[in-house]
Subunit: 341 residues, 2 copies
DNA sequence: CTGAAAGCGCTTACAG
DNA sequence: CTGAAAGCGCTTACAG
């Protein structure tokens, strides 16, 4: 390979010390205009880029933020990742992604991996931080990590003064969906999807109850059908709903994938959405526009979410004070999957 | 923060030299069982993980592979990424992802970014490597990079003996689709989607011609409708197709997103798929099972693709010889979007 | 404003 | 088998 050129080569050629070259590279101290110009010419000539490994070793900072998430093929996570990367780069940080493939065990490997890489901060989404009954080992592992490295949890349920939490205002999002549905005359509203051991399920179901209560309504427990978070799961949930003697006129789904599954199963059963059933999704992944009918859903503000996460972690790294938790507003996006009753 | 513990602390506590600790960590040289045991106890006690920054600086290798791709929210790319990460980790490499947000200009920033990070290899997908008329600057930039760092291009059209190419056998995939459709009695087959300046469009259209020729058929040029690669684009293409005086009985789409858009527009026009039009997708992203009807599509072998990419780049880094290009078979997945005529 | 020197945390010839 | 020392490519007090 081409012989690597270092700051020493630059210094020799520009007839200065490496210290001077370094000062120009970092801008950390004044250098006379003449020598600066001379050195910069050499820098240009060789298209010199300082070795980040060496620089960061010296800084004792890696300038990397670790990201652990359960599934990068899930649009919800990949969209957040893309937003975060944009903002991280703007702050001179790199993102090191570890895709845990929906395995809590692999998350542990991810923590070790990021630890070896000396990440300056950790962003943790999904997986263990959403388990209602989390084993002590898994919990301790994360908290121990957070004791050493500034950590931000996204939409997670782990409480600890060692971590900051950035979350979307799901309660507010559900309330918007309920307001909209009741405005259309619905009084019988269920919630499909999710999993009994995942916090978001519990939280969103509670949010539904609360929102309905605001309208003097109650929810029928049978209409809260949990299973999982996938498209297939949406199909399963609708099947189960259709077994019941009485059915709601509208359902809010735990996420858009489930909603897509519900739409699919509805077609299968010749059940017309929205004529016979109104459906609301959650997340607003970019697929919602494909479905038939197009899905009305509650949208995260992905851009705000991403920038808040990066902002929070960077501040924590710089030991600036940050709130223990930040809430990002959601917004209802009305498309074609609901109608007036 | 907790004071960082280093190899020196371990050495002091175990009463050996840092060299010995290092030898145990790396297994690079024999150490007597007794001292080994003693040191390992200290290592365990502190859960010591060697600082990768320092280690790699010493190795003069970063053990990182850079990945540049146009859009991580696209399931095609995120699925490949996930597969690659699994194999990379197994080979002790880390993946550093740069999401170029569909911008050739940002790809340039990505190259600089990965260069600063001293990646040992580069995996480049989409974007400039698929531009039919690529500006000299963009091309040169990539080739210059490849001259310094082992580079693998995935499904790309750039020719250079400096890079290896790993690609799926798209020609074979299209041929399978055509065989299937002709087997169902179709003789009038079009291709929707893609963009005139992107190589895959040209290549897949050519593959369609060749496959049809095998069956003594020709393609009607009007039925090759390019626009772009998105869901919306699929809608546009079908609209355009429906304007024509004569229409094919089957279409192969440039990718699944386009196919999903075609299905959507077809519903809009009360055009029954597959009764009135058979539709085949390409890529087999995980969404194909959601659509109505479920999409028959040509599938990449993502696992094989991912492992071949990593295998190829690692071999190039180790200066083992690798073929200039490798072809991965595709496979037709039959679902419900086609029917006999 | 500038340079010589030490340090970041590891690894690996070189001796013994 | 083991240790002292140099080196990986930077940055930054410390002097001047």
């Amino acid at each position: 390979m081409s012989t690597k050129i270092t700051i020493y080569d630059i210094a020799r050629e520009a007839e200065v010390s490496v210290a001077t070259v370094s000062r120009i590279l970092t801008g950390s101290a004044p250098v006379s205009p003449e020598t600066k110009q001379r050195v910069e010419a050499v820098l240009q000539k060789h298209k010199f880029r300082p070795n980040k490994l060496a620089r960061n070793l010296s800084y004792q900072r890696s300038m990397m933020l670790g990201v652990i998430l359960p599934d990068i093929t899930n649009p919800y996570f990949s969209t957040i990742f893309a937003e975060m990367q944009r903002d991280a780069l703007a702050s001179d940080y790199s993102l090191l992604l570890f895709n845990a493939m929906n395995s809590l065990e692999l998350e542990s490997e991810g923590l070790a991996y990021l630890s070896r890489h000396q990440v300056d901060g950790l962003i943790f989404m999904g997986g263990r931080v959403n388990e209602i009954t989390l084993s002590d080992r898994y919990r301790a592992e994360l908290v121990d990590f957070a004791a050493k490295v500034p950590t931000v949890i996204v939409n997670g349920g782990i409480q600890s003064d060692l971590v900051s939490i950035v979350q979307t205002d799901e309660r507010g999002g559900i309330a918007q969906a309920v307001d909209y549905l009741t405005g259309l005359g619905h009084t019988q509203i269920g919630m499909l999807g999710g999993s009994a051991h995942i916090t978001v399920t519990r939280d969103r179901q509670a949010a539904l109850r609360a929102a309905l209560a605001e309208h003097g309504l109650t929810v029928c427990d049978e209409w809260l059908i949990a299973d999982s978070f996938s498209i297939e799961s949406g199909e399963v949930c609708l099947e189960r709903l259709l077994q019941l003697p009485e059915q709601p006129t509208a359902v809010i789904c735990i996420n858009d994938l489930v909603a897509l599954g519900v739409l699919k199963a509805a077609r299968h059963h010749q059940l017309d959405v929205p004529k016979q059933l109104s459906v609301v999704g959650f997340d607003d992944i970019y697929l919602t526009a494909v479905s038939a009918p197009e899905l009305t859903t509650v949208s995260h503000n992905y851009a705000a979410l991403g920038s808040t996460i990066i902002d929070t972690i960077v501040k924590r790294i710089n030991e600036e004070s940050v709130p223990a938790s930040v809430l990002i507003d959601m917004e209802l996006v009305v498309r074609d999957s609901c109608r007036r009753v």
